[in-house]
Symmetry: C2
Subunit: 237 residues, 2 copies
């Protein structure tokens, strides 16, 4: 009997693995799986495995792996979203969930001149991402980082990608939705509620970023992030 729900284990290269306490509880206590049941696992790296439960210990469920296979469901372009965390962290948590559902490649929380929030609980973000991964049967757990704006630009300077910075300036009329991408990877920078500073826009330009608009509406930070993510999911479909 195959169940649709994924369980998460970061390493599917061993023949037998023990699920974490959280995953074991979910599998054995919440979903009442027993020894002999077949379940699906993902490592968040694109792989899926069929697994047979060996010991249904609710704190340390042991499973035997079969048929590990790569099932990464890629969009035509891989989106790397660098976004300023919102003052209300719920909005970013929600964005992380949706980004995982929609198949984002990586997520970077960037600290900007006008950022109102200097800290993000990355453990919590990771738990939210794992939960979305499991429920939506996606096999890609996007790597997430927390970094200063300048450091993000530096660390991605050599990456071959189409690079964009969302900017609400009226004179900027270039639309991300109309862009034809020349790389497989696309980087999109989205600023805080108070927008990027003029200095940040200038720095981004120097690093080869192009200013774009995300439609014709005024979007909240997290909606702008989602706009970019969904654009990749509908483009070239």
């Amino acid at each position: 009997m195959i169940f649709n729900q994924y369980f998460y284990h970061p390493d599917l290269t061993q023949p037998v693995v023990t699920l974490s306490q959280e995953e074991s509880e979910h599998c054995v206590r919440a979903l009442r799986h027993r020894a002999g049941d077949e379940v699906l696992l993902t490592d968040g790296l694109g792989n899926e495995a069929r697994a047979i439960i060996l010991t249904d210990n609710p704190k340390a469920c042991q499973v035997e792996l079969h048929d590990v296979r790569m099932v990464k469901n890629t969009n035509a372009h891989r989106l790397h979203l660098a976004i300023a965390p919102t003052k209300n962290i719920d909005r970013i948590e929600w964005l992380v969930e949706k980004c995982v559902e929609l198949g984002i490649e990586t997520i970077h929380f960037i600290l900007c001149d006008n950022s109102e929030r200097p800290r993000v609980n990355m453990d919590r973000m990771r738990r939210i991402a794992v939960s979305a991964l499991k429920q939506c049967q996606t096999t890609w757990l996007p790597p997430m980082t927390l970094t200063r704006f300048d450091d993000f630009l530096k660390s991605h300077a050599q990456m071959p990608a189409d690079k964009y910075i969302a900017w609400c300036d009226d004179e900027n009329t270039r639309q991300l939705a109309r862009e034809g991408f020349s790389h497989d990877d696309v980087i999109l920078l989205i600023g805080p509620e108070g927008d990027f500073s003029a200095a940040e826009i200038e720095t981004a330009r120097q690093y080869g970023y192009t200013e774009v608009k995300l439609g014709n509406r005024r979007l909240r930070t997290e909606t702008a992030g989602l706009y970019g993510c969904l654009l990749m999911a509908v483009k070239d479909i």
Copy 2:
């Protein structure tokens, strides 16, 4: 001095209007506007007005209207979303907010065979929509209804529109993102967590609805709704 924040009043046809208690409190108490200040109003019907505060009463703020003008920011196509409310109502509330931000035309909560939630607090939904309208400087407050699936189909039977029903069936490979629309209005039906029943799919077919997929991923109900909404915002941009 012009403030970016909108205030909401459903009728901008009179020369002087009194804001509701909620709007008055927001305007006078929270944002500390005083008599003589200029503010922006919308009626949620596409109109914007400049207004001068006459009396800064925090329970009944009276304003004088100037320059009422239609500024409805339309997408190329008007989306009418009919969606089964989710078990967890937070997810639908969030969807309503995002739909208003992205410029949806109307929202209909439909009760389906597999619906887990028979009730929706429509007053609360309307408050959420008004709040989104104000913050995102949109002038269109989408009409919202709560209706049975069959009744929705009947009431929209004569409406000239491209009509679609989202369906997760593997044999259905038609993608909404690839569709060319022949009407200005597009109706999209999205089912509950347990999906539409076979009978509902059949009924929709009889009413001229076409089954479509929303990308290649398994999306939650509210993410599917957002997918449709964002598709309209990026299409033909």
